[in-house]
Symmetry: D2
Subunit: 285 residues, 4 copies
């Protein structure tokens, strides 16, 4: 039976990489290459590749692939990941009181835009429960207070582990995650920040944008790292504002941007279109 | 003979302002109002208005207007400016070695996009001379070294005074102007900064944007104030970039943005479409 | 008690209009003008104005306004409408099987982006029922077949009349309305067409766009007139596509555009920001 | 000595193409693949590839490549082109009275954005002569009248042949080329049309856009085919307009769009980033 897989590779750049990888896939898996994208960082001498291929080879799974690919991977000093398209990622959405991103993600998932299983929704408020129930996603309300933060994070991590969650989406979740939490899901926590990073990091970016008198407001989706609002940027978008847009107007226009950049980030992550390096992303779009 | 004038007003907001201004123009000038735009800053309680009107009244000039308008202006505590469309502003362009903004401004001026007289071009390099001569604008090369800065600025100010310059356009002029220079032309020096302010202020913004891995690069035109890259923003625009755009690609895409935001700022300034307050601009576009 | 009202006017352009209208509002209503926007069509000699004002005058309603404003309106040959902000419009949404615009409108309404009452949802399919019930809007399923079209339209019109509906929003409703229906709601039926009109009118615009190899796809919201896809355009937007976007990619990107242009059209209509003339719209945004 | 070459291929899609091409380049040319992009049209079963590579192999030129590559090319039924980056294309620009695209192309060429030789400028008017001389490009004024059209085209073709021109850029050249002319330069004539094709083909598109009341205006660059405004689209862009933009405003905003889409088309053509099929373009950007 035919399987579709995506191979992501990064390694030092050198001659013969494209041919070597293509040959390996043809020789070992009689692969039909559906798509092959590559990128070089000339300055750093790095090579990145995403190959999407189908194979009829029996018994092809990650362990088997590792066994046959390792010699080559070691020779070229490759980091690599192999993902089978049939295997659905398990996703958790964290949300607080603003529900526009959540409502958007849930509707897109229902429409079939995301290839994943929505395993659970976690919130520090009750407000999202009705939406979660309408879309039939398990909902967990875990209120957070300063003195219970550590305890609640432990509960959250237990829930994620229990559901085998692969990706955490922060859909306007207004609590800062601890380094311990972030380390548990490296490049697997996607956040939306409601400004055009690196402008207006931190709290109340729309207020800051309004005060500075910018003519475009933005939103940014990024992977979460230990440093607030500093992780690799996945997607950004902007909208034009004018003096007619007072603060509430900025917030309203911003909601549309947040929805767009977060949903694209989730879609690209799930389709394995993102590679990270040097605190940046390569998007094979 | 009919004259077209633009009246710009800002004052504390209160009832009756629109009617009072319209009545005054009709009563005193039998004005035909071509355009009336207003803006309120609700939070600060401020009112802004731009009125474009024609009048056949003989002897209407700024002094005459001041005489009849002053009682009303004082009553409402108005700041106001009156500009006659027939009176062309005199403009100086400052430029260094990157000529794309200069070439663009010169061609647009020739095409009739700007209602102004290009009085002179000032540069710290010889590179722009050929373009200046082709478009028949007087060119002054004044090289700047750290130890001659003050002296050169004095020469520049003398040139501006001699030509009666109303507006200074910094078209990628890579020298920082002294507070003294800036104070001499308040809200009359327009600069283009090659980033989406307030992100990446200061030197080498494209390098900084590339290092941060942003997905959109920007450019900003603004009035120059004493604080570097901090003046009221007039216009901003962005372009999408990807990993395929290395640093030279960012610089190239940025050139197009710089041209656009600077030329719009110049056009709006000349058409008297800009009012400044609270380190922001109101654009009556 | 203070009321906020919006006065929309169009009439032949002539001297003194702004002053006359402002004076009238101040004299008769001691109005505080919150906003006054105007537009002239120089070629056609037409004047358009939107004034938003508050008044404390007792007994101010449409009939009373008509009584005192009529002499002036007749003198200037004005068409005018007066709307009180407190009076919520009643809105009906028509939808077929694609629910993304409906889900978006419902969520925006819940968020407070639209000042209106959602009176009912009409569909020729059952698919939207769950969403309608979740957001607690009455739902009517009226299947349409060629031979029952006239009868179903009569039912629809009866429902609209019964609910006193002011605005009909076609949120991807895939049935063509008869001239009789359209005439019953002049400039009060808003449709979204999934192309950048006037390109790709009629059925299957994404297929047509894909076949033509365009580099941007678009969506258009417009008022419905008797001629298909020909009514006054309210809003348009586009998104970039490439060879990587096959037909399903166009459809997906298009959904986001449709949501945006339709929701803006609804918001502007409800905020009385739209005037129509010469099969165009003036948007006082 | 190292050479950089670009290989463009299109052929029926089948297994093993990526590996076969990569292997060939490594085996025969010890190639270092700088970039490899591919595209599949799944519906039509077609495969497209652009490979940029360097080789140190002595004697590598088109004839030598043809000799060694032909067996493989025939086996896979490939259409292919090989271009050496060092070999500069020869470009002719045709222009009439609107000079904004010409001025833009000349400045970009001077800045180094285009890797080509500007061989000549052809116009049916004298207006462009000064610009041509300033940028030191030979200028030929060939006025066209209905009765001399055929004769003038013969002169133009003779000039192009004499200069060995590879690419003809129509930079707002307002004469329709005959089928004979078009056939002589298949996929080697780039035009800019001042609308968002396929909307508003033919003459006076800004007038048509204004009359229709669109909210975005566009411009399109495309290869010229025998059918007017129907050739494969290379690039499109749009700008927002409102009622404040009367016809001259549309024309002014349109100029910026025309410059952008035409310059990108020229740049991509010269960088060999465009493949045509089914009256569409694949852009390897």
């Amino acid at each position: 039976m035919s399987k579709t897989a995506i191979l992501l590779i990064d390694c030092p750049d050198r001659k013969g990489l494209v041919a070597a990888i293509a040959n390996f896939l043809v020789r070992e898996y009689d692969a039909n290459i559906l798509n092959a994208d590559q990128h070089q960082d000339v300055e750093l001498g790095l090579f990145f590749m995403r190959v999407e291929f189908t194979t009829d080879k029996a018994g092809c799974d990650e362990a088997q692939f590792r066994a046959v690919f390792s010699p080559q991977a070691e020779e070229f000093r490759m980091n690599w990941q192999l993902h089978f398209v049939e295997a659905q990622e398990k996703v958790a959405i964290f949300v607080s009181q603003y529900l526009h991103c959540l409502a958007d993600l849930l509707h897109r998932h229902q429409t079939g835009e995301f290839r994943c299983k929505l395993s659970l929704i976690v919130s520090n408020h009750e407000k999202a429960r009705a939406l979660a129930e309408f879309y039939e996603v398990p909902f967990h309300c875990l209120p957070v207070r300063a003195e219970t933060r550590a305890e609640v994070e432990a509960e959250q991590l237990a829930l994620l582990a229990e559901h085998g969650v692969d990706l955490v989406v922060l859909a306007r979740y207004m609590q800062v995650l601890s380094p311990k939490f972030v380390e548990a899901y490296p490049q697997r926590i996607v956040n939306v920040h409601h400004s055009f990073l690196p402008a207006f990091t931190g709290a109340k970016p729309y207020h800051a944008a309004f005060a500075r008198g910018v003519k475009l407001i933005g939103a940014t989706s990024h992977y979460v790292t230990e440093i607030l609002d500093d992780g690799p940027i996945i997607e950004q978008d902007v909208a034009r504002v004018s003096q007619n847009d007072q603060l509430p107007g900025l917030v309203q226009k911003g909601r549309d941007l947040e929805r767009m950049v977060l949903s694209r980030a989730v879609q690209w992550h799930l389709a394995r279109r993102i590679l990270c390096y040097a605190n940046k992303t390569v998007i094979f779009a």
